[in-house]
Amino acid sequence: MKHGKYPLLAAFLLPALGLYGYFVISPYAQAFVISATDWHGLSNEFNWVGLDNFKRLLSDEYMRNALWHNALLLILLPVITIVLALFFSSMLNVHRAKGAGLYKIIYFAPQVLSVAVIGVLWKEIYNPRSGLLNGTLRALGLDGLAKTWLGDPAVAFWAILAVMVWANVGFYVVLFGAAMQSIPKELYEAAELDGSSRWATLWRITLPLLWDTVQVAWVYLAILALDGFALVQIMTRGGPNFSTDVVGQRMYDVAFSENKFGMASAIGVVLFFLTLTITVAALRITRRERIEFS
């Protein structure tokens, strides 16, 4: 493919790179520079403060609290989402449950809802008095399980996590479903003849063959867990008592309600390196890099 390689590369890469560099890289690069200033984002006046913003972050207990919640999300969101999605998609694709086509459309539905709608909706579901959740629990005689949900620091975080899982499972059902279709049927037929249970089939056959896709899913979900704060912003703004605070919410508050763009950019830079580290780690484990760049 030597001949004519560079004209094609130039024609194919430069427009995308140009647009990307101009509208994405350059603003982000400016954000890196801003993180070393005390800029308030209202005038052209600012002072260089070096690493002061980062030092402040290190000793900020609210930031630590928010980071802890992100760390929890980083582990729990992918695990729960992937387990549920694997289960559903193996039911729909391998075991051909009745109405599989319909389920596939319905499960994806939360993906078409904007975050604002999801927030409004779940606030009503979690309403401790007239909400669907407590209503259902009381109807089942489980009054002891009825809670104030978003109003209780011990519960609110888990309530938000549940919404995140709810909103994302559908996408991964589709993703895993696609992967499962490429697994040869004979493998499953053999398993069924051996009398292995659904769980055993999932565990011994499907999962190993899907491992690459699962890793990709984990990377997407990890990125989401780190900067997906829109739901928090709409449902609790980090409350009650900072029990649902996440780094994205910290950054939003610092930027737009405290007008400290230097500090907010520093939080963004920290977030960037965290995400980068985790993604690279995950990519390395999956060896996708080697496959792509051998």
Partner: protein, 273 residues
């Protein structure tokens, strides 16, 4: 083999959990404000189509809808064109700095978009594109590239090389090869990623708020709905808001339902074997 009812029950429960909210939004859009607030889970007393009329005309949803369609028809096309060409170059050619370029693109997925907002405003302004729909089209495209490139690089790598080699022997030039051979082969992957971009850009809110602010004539749907939602916090025309939400949600759902099989097959073809 004995049939355990548990898995089937789980499917149904999850189905209800995801379908119910959609129904709730649609049903709520027929209620009046007192019904929405006093009895959030009740049925509407009557079918109030006037909510939709109010959302469409008074809430300007019609205009916003048209703007969204205009912007997305260009930005999705552009995203796919630039994303596919760049991904193809990265997937099928070797050149110095290739890894750097790849990480440059993929790194964009890891940075929270709202941090770039203020610098982006000036970048767009300096280009003379502030408060214009073309500006929005270019920015949407640029911010969709990381995911598109990430996805399509993996996809192009999985396409068989034999076809390409055969085409080369037939004297097919590199450009013709891409458009005549590779692009058609990549169709399923392109459709999948186009649908995901469509979902993302349709619900995009932050970028238009900052980049198109001077007149409501240029608002896109997500932005217009958010403006309505903010208003409801103070003024309470919830029925109009929910009617607007329904109008915004249904087209995307329909597009997804129609292309559902292609999305699935695109993802299937994109799997690493």
């Amino acid at each position: 083999m004995k049939r355990n009812p548990f898995p089937q029950a789980m499917l149904v429960i999850w189905g209800v959990m995801t379908a119910l909210p959609l129904l709730w939004v649609v049903v709520t859009s027929f209620k009046d404000d007192a019904e929405i607030l006093n009895d959030p889970w009740g049925l509407p007393g009557e079918l109030r189509w006037s909510n939709f009329a109010r959302a469409w005309s008074h809430g300007n949803i019609g205009k916003y809808f048209l703007n969204s369609v205009t912007v997305l028809s260009v930005s999705i096309t552009l995203t796919m064109l630039l994303g596919a060409t760049a991904a193809y170059a990265l997937a099928r050619y070797d050149f110095p700095g290739k890894r750097f370029v790849y990480f440059l693109f993929v790194g964009g997925m890891m940075f929270p978009a709202f941090l770039a907002l203020v610098p982006l405003f000036f970048v767009v302004k300096n280009a003379g594109l502030l408060n214009t729909l073309p500006g929005l089209m270019l920015v949407y495209t640029a911010y969709s590239l990381p995911f598109t490139v990430f996805f399509l690089v993996a996809f192009f790598r999985t396409l068989p090389t034999q076809v390409a080699e055969a085409a080369m022997i037939d004297g097919c030039g590199p450009f013709a090869m891409f458009f005549k051979v590779m692009l058609p082969m990549a169709k399923p992957g392109l459709i999948s990623v186009a649908i995901f971009n469509l979902l993302g850009q349709w619900n995009q809110y932050l970028l238009p708020v900052v980049l198109v602010s001077d007149s409501e004539d240029k608002y896109v749907l997500a932005q217009g709905l958010a403006a309505l939602a903010v208003n409801e916090g103070y003024r309470g025309d919830y029925s109009r808001l929910f009617a607007g939400l329904t109008l915004a949600m249904l087209p995307v759902l329909i597009v997804y339902a129609v292309f559902q099989r292609q999305v699935q097959s695109g993802l299937t073809a994109g799997q690493l074997k």
